[in-house]
Symmetry: C2
Subunit: 344 residues, 2 copies
């Protein structure tokens, strides 16, 4: 593996300007610059798959989230699975498969402080990018550690045909819950019920969500896994049972706008009278417990109880368009960019 | 104690109409009707102290809270400490001191299903109505069980000169926290700092709360004990530290209006990026753990670390006016009505 071809030029998307409202392709610029040399203590990683996530949109506003905003002129940040193509790091050898924040580019330098996670040789990279990676872990920890569902309880999931939501619902079924999903097309609704085993689905674009919740959650909602905020959160809040838990995972209805809506009506009053808990989390906080989650997720995939769908788009050049589409709900399952072939 | 004088007539305030916006005295009607006879399995309790609480306002809207709404023409509900004056219940004897929902009236019937709690003979009823009763228990469980403050953390309390808030802040000090209170007059602010030992106070009517929080909570806020909702909650939310807890106890800024404000901006997004927990509770849920709380509260009062102030208004006839005043922040410490003398 010592002789790996490294392209002389590194293709990148950098942040050209901060979006004014909805994200536009022109908010990014395509740049080609010499592939950086590998300094002491550094490794060079070639991107194979680039993850697209609704949270990406939050990283480019001019306010810190759980990370500092991407700077103007800097490569767009993004979660990447790639392969080490040159290394001056003791812990990484050429050929190693790794995941970490590689950004929207062909090659990324990872110094000693870069949070990077080594994958086993021959790993299934597509599964690692979806059900067994950050996506699956987000579903796993959010549902089980924050939501604490008990068998027989009702679990509602929004963006239920999305990468995280589709896994949340299936884990809730494995745990013996009544599971209802909210999605934006009839096809998505059919998929989560027919293929994934959700009990019921609600198309929020064509149905009255409050009314549909009354019908499909006859015993109320015990756990709401919220990927969207906005109107679905509002409706769910009014249907929560006493002692219910609302897992705040994402706010996709609010990311792509310059004028986010105020919080839902009934807050915080309903939290008091119904003793509700509303709690946010970030999957990175569970890094030290990854093995446990990974064993469960791999086991459920192996025995066929946990299915996943991926939506792979070829070519780094398509990243801006693909992210915009994701924010508009184009995808079913986990959307990612294939930046290059899987092996050197 | 067998021969106790029972007045032939029972004076009551009944709910005359549901408030349209801010509560008016005319929303209640004064009624005098024969004191009810005591049936099998029932006891008759004469009211001594009637508690006035912001939550009372929520009970008379036409929507259930943690209890059904008070019906039109029914006696207004209210927490009462009283004395048994006639009993056909095995567990209650004439002369017993009790607390429970007695309502705005001289005499209440308590059947076998009525949640009533017997107090020790010779109990300090004023302390029991405030620091050692529902008020103190609300502060205790909300702060310690939901807020989980650790020594060295910053705790913010709103309605800090109120019955609950004034106790929350003192318990937080006992637990070694940096404690900041928000109140509505300079006198209240001075009282909580000079007398109760809060570290800092903010007058939300004359100061910019966001700016004052930056100044008085230099390390951010770890626990926010929210009695008010609205603008103070909004400001606190933006100052919360990663992993912070927001204890939702009440929403006094929103009770007395027909047009409650929407929830704060930044929800649920900020809960996600800062991993915040926002959780409501009702003190009744802790009934089975009362002894533990009572031991702590009594100990702190006895050793002088926990002070309390009461605001006693004489005469049942003043209840509507006193509740309206409470909702407008007139009181410092625990407001209650003295309905009759302490002993039969």
């Amino acid at each position: 593996m010592a002789d790996v071809k490294i392209e002389p030029m590194n293709r990148q998307y950098v942040l050209a300007k901060r979006p004014a409202g909805a994200l536009q392709e022109g908010d990014f610029s395509w740049v080609e610059s010499p592939t950086p040399p590998v300094g002491p203590g550094q490794a060079l990683v070639r991107s194979i798959y680039l993850s697209l996530d609704p949270a990406n949109r939050g990283w480019i506003n001019d306010v810190p989230t759980y990370r500092p905003p991407v700077g103007l002129g800097e490569p767009m940040a993004g979660f990447v699975i790639g392969q080490v193509v040159a290394s001056n790091r003791d812990d990484l050898a050429v050929g190693d498969l790794v995941e970490g924040d590689g950004g929207w580019q062909d090659y990324a330098i990872h110094g000693p402080d870069s949070a990077i996670y080594k994958l086993p040789p021959g790993d299934d990279l597509v599964a690692r990018m979806s059900v067994r990676g950050v996506t699956g872990l987000t579903a796993y920890w959010g549902l089980l550690d924050i939501g604490e569902p008990k068998a027989g309880e009702t679990v509602l999931v929004s963006a239920a045909a999305g990468a995280v939501g589709s896994i949340v619902g299936q884990i809730a079924k494995i745990k013996g819950c009544h599971v209802v999903g909210v999605a934006g097309t009839d096809e998505k609704c059919q998929w989560i019920v027919d293929e994934l085993g959700f009990d019921k689905a609600i198309n929020y674009k064509t149905e009255n969500v409050m009314k549909a919740l009354g019908q499909h959650c006859p015993d109320g909602i015990d756990v709401y896994f919220d990927n969207v905020g906005g109107e679905v959160l509002q409706a769910a809040l009014f249907r929560m049972n006493q002692g219910g838990r609302m897992v705040c995972c994402g706010v996709v209805s609010q990311y792509d706008t310059a004028t986010p809506a105020p919080g839902p009506h009934g807050l915080p009053g309903l939290l008091v009278v119904r003793r509700l808990r509303m709690e946010g989390f970030i999957v990175m906080d569970y890094a030290d417990r990854r093995d446990q989650a990974d064993r469960d997720l791999a086991g459920w995939v192996a025995d066929g109880r946990l299915k996943y769908k991926v939506d792979i788009i070829d070519g780094l050049e398509n990243a801006p368009k693909a992210l915009i589409g994701l924010l508009h709900g184009e995808n079913t399952g986990k959307r990612m960019i294939r930046v290059s072939g899987e092996t050197v």
